[in-house]
Symmetry: D2
Subunit: 407 residues, 4 copies
């Protein structure tokens, strides 16, 4: 039974997604808003025992300054949350603010470092120290709110890509890296010596403090093989990676149609325009590479054969949080005749991500109660690069989710 | 086992779809073309025992003059079939032409009558006479080619809509209508007295001659309750209605995504531009109504709640066989924030329909060998308004199809 | 010299366009907003002597109740005006409200009557009485604010189309109609007896009170030949009809490109989705016909030859004031090869119209000072169906405007 | 008077554009095709004295092998020219083939070198030798066909960009570079030592042989200041650069509309997909840079202020000669409200370019007869980066063209 309270520890706790989560939970608690966007509120999952809105408590790490109310005002202007919401939920937002602690920055890349505010960054001499700092904050959060279960959610900006081959596969190898001294400044870039980034250390901090983990970002540091083994050994569940909110959601919905009809996709080009902090971080070529990789893997497996494909992400300031994706699919039908499908998706990224974060928290709470451990592949429907699951179409992933949740 | 030969009797045998079927089968037999567009050639249906390309023999009814080679040349110019195909397959097309017989026109509407050529229309005094004429032609076709099984496929232009409540539900009531004298001219419109149209009479002719029936058109006359009972009583299978080739295929693929993610669709507007004979027939307001009805029912059942919806079909001459559909979906996500998905589909209608007709023939052949009778709901994936099945998403319909075919 | 004050009398004074005009003028006076959307603020018109923001005074007729602040709040929610504007400019809006008088309803059609509020409709026994009522209100407005010049602007909802052949061409014929008794209820529909609608009577009221007239609506009643003669005789200028804000603006911009390059347009299809009060009025088939006519005339003259064309307007509630237009242009180039241009325009109708209304007021003020009389064809760039000018491309119309204004 | 014959010397004489020019002229001579796409056949230029179709003789340089008929068959498959054209005009194409000579390759970049066929590349020890070789071929062409005037047209693939600052501004400086030995292989890349590329040498060869020059490509080597001086000194006209066929044509048509209406463009993003040899050459990053530069300059001058802008070109094989451009324009109207215009252009590049090449040849013939010299700015409407003219809107450029041609 979803008894007691469940804590949610957001990494990037004053970012667009986290702020929308905070505003949204306040609105849901007061009955102000429909449950649109929440998968756990569909009829298919109606009978599942999940934490109620008032059983969920928010906190987290953040490397930027400011307050949640300020973040909310920014979102209000950008039409991400309703007009008047920042003021209406000011008390609830202030309460969450009180549970936000300085974050760690370890090889997080220039773009993120630009946003960071030194006094909101915890200085750590070694990776191990950073892990301990994270775990200590989590334990204090648990104690302060008398939480039964805690779920950490990564919703920070995308880190630069890491060479996945260089990430440790064994627990011992990972452990050996943790005492490697970090450069004087936590903003330093000494990735050549050690592949661990902040995302890895947050994940380790979660295990250390007995929390489940949701990696909603494309940052792969949180999901190396050694970390999967550590979660499994600790009997804790984790899931990820990279929330499936827009263009990839459409790809995983449409590609099965082409496959089922034997329509041969020659090329699939996707152009994404985006203007928020995420866009600015992705404009940095290194960070973009991580995101684009995550977006390109899917088609080959769904279509049987890889089409010529191209994915671009451009940072366009004027669009703010509103992602516009244009996809052009060129395919051949009977006797080879070429045809075209184009779509334009105009979605609000934070408004699409926030309810999925709430869904994942509720479902990971269920996994914790069921004592499931390691990667939870049944949550693949939520991710671009699902852990513990082969890539499949979105409908099939949803069927698996429903079976898992309702069993 | 798919032994012997299977006959395909096409109603509208020199139309765009039928001509593409004839060209396509010739190309497949010669190994000239990939099997794109054919569902029965996907890996998922690989093990199913289905007729080979050279086991399929074509014939049919047609109310227009001309030859199949002429129709093929027109399609070649319209980029529906490859350049040079009309010449390359001239012999095969001539062979099919030899099995095409004059059709019947019974309350088929002004637009179709305009295309018809009096010397290709069989004069019948009563509906019963028309049924007998159809059955006689089918039996002759079966005998001439030593066919083991015959499948009739309706691919004629859309008839004007019929008041479905006026169609007979009982076999006896239907039988009583068959001796009602037709007006002198087979082109007359006396629908007020009797609701039966040509599509009903073709369906009855199929049963009479022991053939299965595929209704690929939106003409509902072929699928009233009395006819379903007649097929069931005769131990014959039938399926339909209205091949799902373009915009509706996308709707049945995309709507489940909105539902699964709890994204609330406020409005779904679809505009279809089309320029071939089908377009011209649909430009006639009466015929269009039948088609639009068929397209509008789906969303409410897939989305749980009916959005404001609008479907238009415009006949735009310059587009020929190339359907362009623009859909605009306005939906609300978390906290009610409105977002938009638009798509443009540029597909070649006959090239999309023809392989599905071949698929349906092969699968109805399977149904005949399995002695299935009445409406085959497992074929719902192929239709806009499936008989014997509730509306579901396209992926689920495809799963059912695969289970049925491979069981 | 633009000395003294200029009055603007808005017909439909609490509608979306009028409210946006009122909010916008307040914002411009306070220096809160850039001059985006205002043609009279482009560099090309920099030297022209036009009324300053604080020389313009608003008032008008309205048949609905409520206050301008309430209308502004509605627009705020619909993202037509900035968040907070209703409150910030509440005093300015209240001042305008004080100059709004009940309107007249004469054969305005069912859709408009539905919105009207009996206590805001002036009862009149004859058309002449309605004209006098309008003129009296205008004279009172002029006196109350010590106005040097007055411009009436029609921004009410579109009336049902009137048979233009039935409208009077001579002043005497028009005059004879003015004593025809109106049916008891001002909402009655006795158009068969007399073709004059409210738009005609407002126009006559303007002349009577010595005001210039801008017809920003497609309602043709305001622009019959007899009325043109009356304005000319009275030495007063008028202009119209039907503000060119969206799809037609694009047509008049793009069609000259096809013509200049000798690209042969086979078909031009435009679908317009719209959700505000305008949308609801247009959903009424009669009103739509007036609008569509206004949109279809242009292409033939710009392209030399009329393409197959189709224009639809659908009322889609969820879109509010946001018009979405999708246009599909099918054209042939060298050797007849067919190509396609599609565009999607997502514009906010009131926000596009309001600055043009302000431009037109300033330019008509110039025309009044220059003592120009009759239709001012030099303002054609602002209208879908320009009075006193043959249809031309938008750039050429703009060149004419600049020459006229700066001469 | 356009007496005698005019020779057209195409650089890239078997490429898509040149082949379409050859097929098109043959079709026009036989009266097979409408004059669609030809600006010189619009009513506005009806009275201008221009060479007739049978007064135009084709020849050129080419570095690839094959025949024009083979190129035409490829275009036929790609739906660039009508079905059957390669066969129908085989004799005319063979006649042109007889006037095609091996080309020169000087620092043309890897992508072009990949296509080149050694036996179709003229070996030259120095740039001067290459210039002489080109001039000799031109003189022979003129003599063989008894030509009154000759126009060279560059329609070869785009060269890698050259540092424009390094190109000579004075005739003497250019001359000094011509004896710089070329590396042994004509395919060598020694651009560091000398900035001249093949395009420069073709231009010099044209002057040397008394021909006019049209640079339809973005290769800037043909248009440095020294070359402009040489044309002027020789009393010969030239024009360019980079034919305006698709997305830029639309930009130069639409941007003036935003400017005229004072709509503030925040961002203008354009994505171009293209699959022919041009696409493949542009996929090479260096070549693409040259093209994108040419596309980006325009907006700032037309809009007054530069929006955030992004232009990409992707090579998508399956699209062949069919360019698909998607543009997303984000702009602000009254009170700063953001709105969007998107367009999708699906055009056939060679079919758009070929008639403009014919137009330019006819108009340069006029310039030769009028003894105009140096850059002909009046032809700006044809180019993305017009020589001798400031960037303006397309309608204004067209007005200038008409004035110039009809004066």
């Amino acid at each position: 039974m979803a008894d007691g309270k469940t804590g949610v520890w957001l990494i990037g706790a004053r970012g667009g997604v986290a702020t929308t989560v905070a505003v949204g939970l306040a609105a849901l608690r007061r009955g102000d808003a429909p449950a649109y966007g929440l998968v756990t509120e569909t009829a298919a999952l109606a009978g599942v025992d999940l934490p109620a809105w008032d059983q969920i408590v928010l906190g987290g790490h953040e490397v930027r300054g400011g307050t949640l109310v300020e973040s909310a005002r920014e979102l209000e202007k950008g039409r991400v949350i309703p007009v008047g919401a920042a003021e209406r939920y000011a008390d609830e937002l202030a309460a969450v603010d009180a549970s936000i602690r300085p974050g760690v920055l370890v090889r997080s890349g220039r773009a993120i470092e630009t946003f960071a505010d030194a006094e909101h960054v915890a200085a750590c001499a070694t990776p191990r120290e950073a892990v301990q700092k994270v775990a200590t904050d989590l334990r204090a959060f648990r104690a302060a709110h008398d939480l039964k279960r805690v779920v950490m959610v990564l919703v920070a900006s995308t880190e630069p890509p890491v060479d996945e081959a260089s990430l440790p596969t064994e627990i011992e190898a990972l452990d050996a890296l943790l005492d490697d001294p970090l450069s004087d400044s936590p903003l330093g870039d000494d990735a050549a010596r050690c592949p661990l980034r902040a995302s890895s250390l947050y994940a380790l901090g979660a295990v250390e403090a007995g929390a489940a983990l949701v990696n909603f970002t494309p940052s792969r540091g949180a999901n190396c093989q050694a970390i999967e083994k550590i979660f499994f050994r600790a009997g804790l569940p984790h899931c990820g990676a990279d929330g499936k909110t827009g263009e990839t959601l459409l790809k995983s919905t449409l590609a099965p149609m082409f496959a089922a009809r034997h329509l041969h996709v020659d090329s699939w080009v996707g152009h994404n325009l985006l203007g928020n902090r995420d866009g600015a971080v992705l404009a940095d070529l290194d960070h973009k590479k991580a995101k684009v990789q995550s977006k390109e893997q899917l088609l080959a497996s769904l279509l049987g054969e890889a089409p010529q494909s191209h994915v671009s992400i451009e940072s366009i300031d004027s669009l703010g949080d509103w992602k516009t994706a244009w996809d052009h699919v060129h395919f051949r039908g009977f006797l080879g005749v070429p045809m075209t499908l184009q779509f334009t998706w105009q979605g609000c990224d934070s408004a699409l991500a926030a309810p999925l974060v709430i869904d994942l928290v509720r479902l990971m709470d269920l996994a914790l109660r069921r004592q499931e451990k390691g990667a939870i592949g049944a949550l693949a429907a939520f991710f671009k690069s699902p852990l513990g699951a082969a890539p499949r179409g979105f409908v099939e992933e949803t069927q698996t989710l429903i079976e898992w949740a309702t069993r």
